[in-house]
Structure formats: structure tokens, C-alpha cells
């Protein structure tokens, strides 16, 4: 790309990790903008910590959170995933995270009061379902860039977006619009750590859905106690925008959708 635009890489300052020259650096040089704010979010951990501090302090100061929790049986979801992945090469394999994101996206279609922003004018529904996906950064901090129109993506498309976002988040190559787009945030603790996350809403959003790690637990099925892999799903929501009853229906709908992974 640099040679296409007649730019010498040797003369460029890199803003990537270890001074790596990013696509954006070349773009900036091509546009002739030597100085000025970078169009991408660089991976500055101090700056990230400050941004998290400001957003979370505002959230706890302004947003009257309420919290709901439910336990989701993952037997169907894992059985479906294992069968799907058995015939796929690693580049095509799906993670549980893709199913969780899709279930949230589809459930939001029926629960618009959890998708959008709370402003001085009150609740404003989002113009689409853009899920901010919390991604931990090595060395500390996190970012939650958007998977836009997540409800309209197939599981494969969603997985590809997720893979791309995680890679770019960790290399500091996110576009700033990706960080301002989300209409809701989903935090997924993955496979290690703890069972339950009590989310802090990212303002001006109005809800955060959290997934703990899948754990094996005794579970009653048709009068028998069996070992099942389950996960705790939580909802932190803004009481100015919704009530617990609607929140409970939303969370239960996410659970219901995860019981039929083939329909996601």
C-alpha cells in the first residue's frame, strides 16, 4: 500500500506495538497529515485506564443499575458446537462466544428497551443492534468495540468479526468509530475465571449482559440429578430505561434461544 501511494516506509513513524507501522500510519502519511490526532485508537494502557475510570465513575454516579441472574444449561449448545466443529478446519471453527452473542442479538430484537442510549432526552433506541464485545488486553485494561448489526449476521460471519476484533483490539488497530458505536455491551469471561459477573453499564448505554465461565454442576432433569455444563448469565440494566420484569423476560429469552442453537 505504501509503495502504491509513493510513501517510503523508512520515513514513517509507527504507532503500533513496538513502533510497528500500522495501516493507519501509511494512510495518515498519504493524506499528508504529519501531525494531529491519530485516526485509530493506539494501545496506550495508561490512556485506556483513564478512559475506563472516567466511564465507570460516570456509570456508577448516574446510572441506577439493577441486576438479574439466571443459570443456563449449555448441554444443547455444546453438543451443537462439537458436532459443527468436528468437520471444520480451525480457521472455520466456532467458539461458544459466537453463540452467546447471537442469542443476545436475537433476544434484543424483542426487547428494544435494552438496546440504545440514555440521554438528557430520555431513552433513545439504537439504530441497529451493535454489540460492544468486551475484550481483555494483555497487560491490563479492556476495550469493547462493536460488532455492528449482530442480529443480521450468520454465526460464521459473527465468529469472523469476533476473531478480527480480538486480533485488532490486542494490536491497537481499532477504529475509533468501533468504540463509540455499541448500543449494548456483552462481557464474556471465557473459560477461565469465575462464574458470575455483575456488570457496570458503559454510559450512555442502558444494559450489559454478562456470561460467566461454563462449569459442570449437578442439575435436575425430569426428576433425576445429572451432571451438566451450565453458565450464569447476568443482566445489569438502567432502571431509568427498563424494569426488572422486562429484564427478566429478556434474560430468559437469551436462555431459551441457547437451548435451540441450530436456530441461532
Amino acid at each position: 500500500m505504501a509503495s502504491e501511494r509513493g510513501i517510503a516506509l523508512a520515513g514513517l513513524g509507527g504507532s503500533g506495538p513496538g513502533g510497528a507501522i500500522l495501516y493507519a500510519d501509511v494512510e495518515r502519511a498519504a493524506a499528508g497529515a504529519v501531525s494531529g490526532p491519530a485516526p485509530t485508537k493506539r494501545l496506550d494502557l495508561k490512556e485506556m485506564r483513564r478512559a475506563i475510570a472516567a466511564a465507570m465513575a460516570r456509570s456508577k454516579r448516574e446510572i441506577p443499575h439493577y441486576y438479574l441472574s439466571t443459570t443456563v444449561d449449555l448441554t444443547s449448545a455444546f453438543a451443537w458446537l462439537e458436532a459443527a466443529n468436528a468437520t471444520r478446519s480451525p480457521t472455520q471453527r466456532l467458539l461458544l462466544a459466537a453463540l452467546l452473542l447471537k442469542a443476545v442479538a436475537r433476544a434484543l430484537g424483542e426487547a428494544p428497551e435494552f438496546n440504545g442510549f440514555f440521554t438528557a432526552a430520555g431513552f433513545q433506541p439504537g439504530s441497529g443492534i451493535h454489540i460492544g464485545t468486551a475484550i481483555a488486553i494483555r497487560g491490563g485494561g479492556l476495550v469493547a468495540p462493536a460488532i455492528r448489526d449482530a442480529d443480521k449476521l450468520s454465526l460464521d460471519e459473527l465468529m469472523a468479526r469476533l476473531r478480527d476484533l480480538v486480533t485488532r483490539a490486542r494490536s491497537g488497530a481499532l477504529r475509533s468509530s468501533e468504540l463509540s458505536d455499541p448500543t449494548i455491551t456483552v462481557t464474556n469471561l471465557g473459560e477461565r475465571g469465575v462464574e458470575t459477573v455483575f456488570g457496570v453499564i458503559y454510559p450512555p448505554q442502558v444494559s450489559l449482559v454478562g456470561f460467566g465461565i461454563p462449569v459442570e454442576r449437578p442439575w435436575a432433569v425430569a426428576g433425576e440429578v445429572v451432571a451438566r455444563r451450565v453458565l450464569t448469565a447476568t443482566l445489569a440494566a438502567d432502571h431509568r430505561a427498563s424494569d426488572g420484569h422486562r429484564g427478566a423476560l429478556f434474560l430468559a429469552d437469551i436462555d431459551r434461544r441457547l437451548q435451540s442453537p441450530e436456530t441461532l
Binding site: L95, R138, L162, T167, G190
Partner: protein, 84 residues
Amino acid sequence: MTRDDITAVLIEELGQIAPETDASRLDPNAELREELDIDSMDFLNLVTALTERLAIDIPEADYPNLATFNHAVDYLAQRLAIAE
């Protein structure tokens, strides 16, 4: 490909995922995911890289065989032997 070659490939690919990894301080019998703070996406990227570099198949059902560094080297050597 010798066991040393496989070890070198594994160290290199772990370094791609966890750049701060100091291979000399890695406990070869510890759980890699814990030791290197690898999440499921990192792990999938590691499997993808290993299958491409070593030209072997690593089914999802075999993931437990990659739990520690030593187990992973054993497993990869075995898969390579089958592939050859």
C-alpha cells in the same frame, strides 16, 4: 521434523499469542492456559497456526492433549508421525 523442531515451533507460536512469554521460565508441566493467560480465542489461534505450520489436523476433541507444553510437544510429534 525432530522434537527440537517441534519445540521451537511451539515456542514461536506461543510467543505470537503471548509476546511477553519468556520461554526459559515456562514450566513445561503447567497448564498453558493458566501459565500464559491464554483465552479461548488465543487458543484457537494457536491451534490454527500449528495446523498450518506443521501441516497436521488438530481436531477439537484433541484439545486436552495440548494442555501443557510437554503434552503438546508429545501430541504434535505423534500427529506428525501419523501424517508422515
